[in-house]
């Protein structure tokens, strides 16, 4: 029952090591989250303490990749917040994507892929998938590989399927996945044109001319400094009149942010970039 607990000095040493050895800067992650994730890794990998963690990660690139994957929070369900997905299906997607070509949708941190596949399934059902270019970024190469294969934990099915029914009265979610014993795979034809980008925490490069960004419940793992930096990058990525959707308990409220974005749905946290 007693978990290993990381002190503040140890946490700072770990952040410094990651910066010095791998040039990944985690100092603007939310502290409680970062601490908790590292504590979990130390316990699960029997590393005893912060020194054990630092010794292992300094010399072991594979372990660093596992660490990056652990820093991506696994989505626990498809179609989280069904009311948002109903708005996307019934109002926003038909309105903004219909008749478009190469409509770019960007997921700045795709984590375990549920947001990507939820979007692709709705687009497929609306017959709009062919009009869209899906683009994803992630700090974790391992997570990208997993998403490309369409692999997901079949334990999620019991939450996923009822969520699907909250959005669609016709069809079954199982039209889009196969499940045998302990493995489940999404139909990867849904993402055959999806572009995957491996990124450092702050982007070396990011897509331009994006019409919609889906970035829900990822910035909650950053402090305000990093949140603001992401919002600025997204602002430069999105075309005027383009949309940004964040989690329903997140908001954009940096200084003068109302000059940049209009909140068009408070309930679902949908923002629209102003025209000029």
């Amino acid at each position: 029952m007693n978990r290993y607990e990381l002190g503040i000095v140890d946490t700072r040493n770990i952040i410094k090591t990651l910066q010095d050895v791998y040039n990944y800067d985690f100092k603007n992650y939310a502290l409680t989250f970062f601490k908790r994730r590292v504590e979990k890794i130390i316990t699960n990998h029997n590393l005893k303490d912060a020194d054990g963690f630092i010794k292992k990660i300094e010399t072991n690139k594979d372990f660093f990749e596992i660490f990056l994957q652990e820093m991506c929070v696994e989505d626990t369900e498809m179609f989280r917040d069904p009311s948002l997905w109903r708005v996307l299906k019934e109002e926003l997607f038909p309105k903004i994507i219909h008749g478009a070509a190469n409509f770019k949708i960007w997921f700045p941190e795709v984590s375990s892929g549920e947001e990507l596949f939820s979007t692709a399934i709705i687009l497929k059902k609306l017959n709009l998938l062919k009009n869209v270019q899906l683009i994803t970024s992630s700090i974790s190469e391992l997570e990208i590989e997993k998403t490309k294969k369409g692999l997901f934990d079949p334990k999620k099915i019991e939450v996923n399927n009822p969520n699907f029914k909250r959005i669609f009265s016709e069809g079954e979610l199982s039209d889009f996945y196969t499940h045998e014993n302990d493995t489940a795979y999404w139909d990867t034809s849904l993402i055959e044109n999806t572009k995957f980008i491996k990124q450092n925490i702050i982007f070396d490069d990011y897509p331009k001319g994006v019409k919609l960004v889906l970035f829900r419940n990822q910035m909650i793992y950053y402090n305000q400094i990093l949140q603001e930096r992401f919002i600025k990058i997204i602002y430069n990525s999105v075309v005027p009149g383009g949309h940004l959707i964040i989690g329903n308990h997140e908001k954009i409220d940096y200084w003068n942010s109302d000059k940049d974005y209009t909140l068009i749905s408070k309930a679902e946290s949908i923002y629209k970039k102003k025209l000029s």
Binding site: T32, V73, I220, Q227, H249, K251
Partner: protein, 185 residues
Amino acid sequence: MYKAVVIGGSAGSFQVITKILSSLPKNFPLPVLLCLHRLKHVRSGFVEALSIKSTIPIVEPYDKETIKPGKGYLAPSNYHMYVELNKRIALSTEEPVNHSRPSIDLTFETAAQAYRDKLVGIILSGANRDGAYGLKKLKHAGGLAIVQDPNECQVKTMTEASLKLTTVDHIFTTEQIISFLLKLK
């Protein structure tokens, strides 16, 4: 001398919590952090129901919202609610703990790290063991641990699990919890 109150509850705690919130003075000097188990798909209604009875304003906070005295912060549905060391709320969609999201353990544990011995923690009626470990961490950090009297609880599992894990400072009835809170300056 205390800087915050954190309250955890599950099955059978709703009436207790509304009674507590309706008895606080309007100028209650501390923030009240509330982690109550709730239905995942019912996003609205709960904070409204608590607000009707409460004398202090109750909000479901945004991520990184600054915690202020005299205000109640209810963990939003389907999120964990953490307290950052700089006394801001941080939300999380990490996996459920004790089958719960929000998890009382996580709110208590992070609040204890932020407020150390300046924290009052109260565990109310509930049907699982969530909160017991968090109360232990709170006590270990020097906070004051209170558990609702199991004899008064609609469901005793949560309070009994807490009492088994921690030597608490007080076992109180709802009335005693209220009179204790009213004495806080």
